[in-house]
C-alpha cells in the first residue's frame, strides 16, 4: 500500500515541478503578408460534381449540397474567395411573402391597438386562407421548373467549403419555409474579389426533402441503450432469484442510521434538504428514495423530521413519500402534514430560511441530497456552526469540494445513486449496481482499446463513438 502512496505522491510532485519550471518556446506568428489582388480577374473555374440530396436523419425541410471546389480555389489562379448558393423558386413565393407581412401587420394592429375590431380578425382569417391556398399550389409551381420562377440567393460560404446544408424552417408561416416532397433545384456560383466576375455551376435537381422515421446516426446509442437495459434486467432477475450481491461500504450511508439514532437520543429533529432540483432531476429522484428510508427510520424512532423544499412539485412528492414511509412503519398517526413544506422558489431566500431553521431548531443531523448550486457552502457551514452531523450527496461536480470540506460525510456523484439501492438492501435495486459496474468495466476496456486504436491509427474505432448532436 505504502508503495502506491509514495509512487503517487512523488509522481504528482514531479508533474507539478515539471509544469512549474516549464520554459516557453514557440514563435509568435509573423505579421501578415499583404496579398495583392490583380485588377482584372479572369472568370474562375466552376465547381464540379455538384450533388443535392435530402438531409439524412432529420425532420425534413432541409437539403444537403455537396460539390468539389473550383480549380481556382486555393490552386490555379487562386481567385475564388467564396461561393454563393442559389435555389430556384416560383414567383408565387413573392406573393406569399407579401401575405405574410400583411398578416404580421394585421396582427400588430390587433395587439398593439387598444380595441380589437371584429373586422381585423376576419381580415386575418381571409389572409390566412389565401396563404393556405398558395401553400397548396406551391408543390405544383415548383414542379413547373424552369417556367414562372427565378434563381434566388440562399447563402454565401467562404472559399474551401465543399458542403452546405440548406436548413429551412418547418413553420409554414415562417420565412425560409421549405416544403417537403417538392421538387427543388440548386446551383452554386464561384465568386471572385470582383463581384461581377463569377461562374455558375450546372443545375442539380429535382430533389425532394422529407423527414425520416429512424436516425441511423444514433445506432451506437441505441445499441448501448439495449445492452445496458438487458444488463440491468438480467442482474435484477438474478437478484430476485436470491443471488447474493456484494456491495462495498459507502461511508455516508452507513452514517445515516447512526445519525438518526443520535438525534433520537438528543431529542432533536433531523433536517432533510432536497436541494434546488426539480422532480425532473434524477438526483432528486434518488434523494426521494433516500428520504423514504430516512423517514421510515425517523418514524420508528419517533424523532422529528423537517423537510423544507424549494420546488412545489418536489414538495408534493416529498409529502407523499414521507407520509407513506410513516404508514409503512406503522406510525401513520404520528405523521405531521407540515413537516414537509414549501419555502420559496428563490435560491437565496430558500437558503436564508433553511439557515434560520438550522440555528433555531438545532437539528442533530442535516442531510443534503440532490442538486445543489452556490448555496451548498452556505448551508453546510451554517450546519457545522450549529454543531449538527452533516451528510451530503450531490451530482453537481462544482459543489462537491464544498460539501467535502464542510460535511462529515459526502456521497460523491454516482455514490448518491448507489446509496438509494444500498440503504434499502433490496436485492432488485442492488442488481442494477452490478449492471452499472459491468458498464464501467466496459468503459475501461473500451478506453484501453481506444487508446490502442489511436496509437495504431485506426480512426474508424474512435469515429464510431463520435455522436453527432
Amino acid at each position: 500500500m505504502a508503495l502506491y502512496k509514495w509512487f503517487f505522491v512523488l509522481g504528482f510532485i514531479f508533474c507539478l515541478c515539471g509544469m512549474a519550471t516549464a520554459q516557453e518556446s514557440g514563435v509568435p506568428p509573423d505579421s501578415a503578408n499583404i496579398d495583392t489582388i490583380s485588377q482584372s480577374i479572369p472568370p474562375p473555374a466552376p465547381v464540379t460534381d455538384l450533388q443535392a440530396f435530402d438531409t439524412r436523419n432529420d425532420h425534413g425541410h432541409s437539403i444537403t449540397l455537396k460539390w468539389k471546389k473550383s480549380a481556382d480555389d486555393g490552386a490555379g489562379n487562386n481567385s475564388v474567395i467564396g461561393y454563393e448558393i442559389y435555389t430556384w423558386e416560383p414567383n408565387m413565393v413573392d406573393s406569399m411573402a407579401q401575405l405574410r407581412s400583411e398578416i404580421d401587420q394585421v396582427r400588430a394592429a390587433i395587439y398593439g391597438g387598444k380595441k380589437t375590431g371584429e373586422d381585423l380578425k376576419k381580415k386575418i382569417r381571409t389572409l390566412k386562407d389565401q396563404y393556405d391556398i398558395l401553400l397548396e399550389q406551391l408543390t405544383v409551381a415548383h414542379a413547373g421548373y424552369p417556367e414562372g420562377g427565378e434563381w434566388r440567393l440562399v447563402d454565401k460560404v467562404p472559399a474551401g467549403t465543399e458542403t452546405y446544408v440548406h436548413l429551412g424552417s418547418k413553420e409554414k408561416l415562417a420565412e425560409g419555409y421549405i416544403p417537403d416532397y417538392t421538387d427543388l433545384y440548386y446551383r452554386v456560383d464561384a465568386l471572385t474579389a470582383d463581384s461581377v466576375v463569377k461562374t455558375p455551376s450546372v443545375v442539380v435537381g429535382p430533389v425532394q426533402c422529407y423527414g425520416q422515421w429512424f436516425n441511423t446516426e444514433q445506432v451506437p446509442v441505441l445499441i448501448t441503450v439495449i445492452l445496458f437495459g438487458v444488463l440491468i434486467l438480467y442482474f435484477v432477475m438474478l437478484a430476485r432469484k436470491g443471488k447474493e450481491i456484494y456491495v462495498r461500504p459507502i461511508g455516508g450511508i452507513e452514517a445515516v442510521d447512526d445519525a438518526i439514532g443520535r438525534a433520537t437520543e438528543m431529542g432533536k429533529p433531523i433536517l432533510y434538504v432536497l436541494g434546488l432540483g426539480s422532480v425532473s432531476d434524477v438526483a432528486t429522484i434518488a434523494a426521494f428514495t433516500i428520504l423514504q428510508r430516512v423517514a421510515k427510520k425517523v418514524a420508528e424512532y419517533q424523532t422529528d423530521l423537517i423537510v423544507p423544499t424549494y420546488d412545489p412539485i418536489v414538495m408534493s412528492v416529498a409529502q407523499d413519500v414521507v407520509k407513506s414511509a410513516y404508514y409503512d412503519a406503522g406510525r401513520a398517526d404520528t405523521y405531521k402534514e407540515d413537516s414537509v413544506f414549501f419555502v420559496t422558489q428563490s435560491q437565496f431566500a430558500y437558503v436564508a430560511a433553511v439557515n434560520g431553521i438550522m440555528l433555531r431548531d438545532l437539528p442533530a443531523t442535516n442531510v443534503y441530497m440532490g442538486k445543489f448550486y452556490a448555496e451548498s457552502l452556505l448551508l453546510a457551514e451554517t450546519g457545522a456552526l450549529a454543531g449538527s452531523i452533516q451528510i451530503s450527496g450531490t451530482d453537481e461536480i462544482a459543489q462537491m469540494p464544498f460539501f467535502i470540506v464542510a460535511c462529515d460525510y459526502t456521497l460523491i456523484g454516482e455514490e448518491l445513486y448507489a446509496a438509494s439501492a444500498y440503504l434499502g438492501r433490496e436485492p432488485i435495486l442492488l442488481g442494477s449496481l452490478k449492471a452499472q459496474d459491468y458498464a464501467k468495466a466496459a468503459i475501461i476496456i473500451l478506453s484501453i482499446l481506444g487508446i490502442i486504436a489511436t496509437v495504431l491509427g485506426f480512426t474508424w474505432f474512435t469515429e464510431f463513438f463520435h455522436v453527432t448532436s
Partner: protein, 270 residues
C-alpha cells in the same frame, strides 16, 4: 423583551432615521424623489447589514430580513411565472379570445386543443389539497417523472457516457519519432512533446483510476484497491484545486457588497 434588546432596537431605528435624513439631503441635487430614494438606499443598506449580522449570530434583524425575503421572493416568482408561463406560453396556444383578452400574440399555427390537457393535469395536482381524491394528483406527477426520466436517460447516455468515453481516447504518444528523438529533444516547455504526453497520460490513468473508485460490487483490494486509492486521491486534488480557484469569485462578491455600503450608502468613496 430584555432591556438590551429594546435598546438595540431603538438604536437601530434612530440610526436608520439619521441615515435616511442625511442620505435624502445628499440626494436633493440629483433627484426630485430624494426622500423616497434616500429611504430606499438606507433600507437596502439596512437589509445588507441585517444579513451580515448573521455572521455574528442569529438575531431578530436577520430573522426580519429572512422572512421578508421569503415572502417577497415567493410573490415575485409567482407573478413572473404567471405572466411568462400561463399568459406567455399557454394562452396563445389555447384560445384566440383569451389571447386577445390578455393582448398576447395568438399562435394559430401552434393552436392545440391538447394544451387543455396540462391544464387538466395541473388541476388534478391541485386536488392534492383534498384528502379524499388526493391520490389523483399522482397522475400529473407520473407524467412529469416519466417524460423527464426518458428525456434524461438519453441525454446522459449521449453526453455523459458515449461522448466522454470517446474523449478519453487521447494519444499517449504525441508526434512520436522514436525514443532517441524523444530524449534528445526533451524539454519542459508547456507546449512541448513531453508535457503534452505527460498530460495525456495523467488524463488517461486519472480517468481509469477514477472509474475504478466508483466500483461498488467489487472489494477494493490488491491492485484494484490501489487503483481505486489513486482515483480518490486525484478526486481530492481536484476538489482542493477547484475550492482554491473559487475563492477569487467569492471575494469579488463581497467586494461588490462592501462597495455598495461604502459608496452608495455612506458615500465614503467616489
Amino acid at each position: 423583551m430584555k432591556r438590551t434588546t429594546v435598546l438595540v432596537m431603538v438604536g437601530a431605528i434612530v440610526i436608520f432615521g439619521i441615515s435616511w435624513v442625511l442620505k435624502s439631503m445628499s440626494l436633493t441635487s440629483t433627484t426630485d424623489h430624494y426622500i423616497a430614494k434616500g429611504f430606499a438606499i438606507t433600507f437596502a443598506a439596512f437589509l445588507t447589514l441585517c444579513i451580515f449580522s448573521f455572521l455574528y449570530k442569529d438575531n431578530p434583524f436577520y430573522k426580519f430580513a429572512e422572512h421578508l425575503f421569503v415572502g417577497v421572493s415567493a410573490a415575485f416568482w409567482m407573478s413572473m411565472g404567471f405572466w411568462s408561463t400561463i399568459v406567455g406560453n399557454l394562452i396563445p396556444r389555447v384560445s384566440e379570445t383569451l389571447s386577445n383578452y390578455f393582448k398576447v400574440p395568438y399562435h394559430p399555427e401552434s393552436y392545440n386543443p391538447f394544451y387543455f390537457l396540462p391544464v387538466f393535469l395541473g388541476i388534478l395536482l391541485l386536488l392534492r389539497l383534498s384528502r379524499k381524491v388526493g391520490w389523483v394528483s399522482r397522475w400529473p406527477l407520473a407524467f412529469i417523472v416519466g417524460t423527464t426520466a426518458g428525456f434524461n436517460f438519453i441525454r446522459y447516455l449521449r453526453s455523459d457516457f458515449i461522448e466522454q468515453v470517446s474523449a478519453t481516447f487521447v494519444p499517449l504518444l504525441v508526434d512520436w519519432q522514436g525514443i532517441g528523438h524523444f530524449f534528445s529533444n526533451l524539454s519542459l516547455s508547456s507546449t512541448g512533446q513531453f508535457v503534452a504526453m505527460l498530460s495525456n497520460w495523467v488524463i488517461f490513468f486519472g480517468v481509469l483510476c477514477g472509474i475504478i473508485y466508483f466500483f461498488f460490487s467489487k472489494e477494493h483490494k490488491g491492485v484494484f484497491g490501489g487503483a481505486s486509492k489513486i482515483g480518490i486521491w486525484i478526486l481530492m486534488i481536484t476538489f482542493g484545486a477547484s475550492f482554491g480557484y473559487t475563492v477569487m469569485g467569492r471575494i469579488s462578491l463581497l467586494v461588490g457588497r462592501i462597495t455598495f455600503l461604502f459608496k452608495d450608502w455612506l458615500s465614503l468613496i467616489s
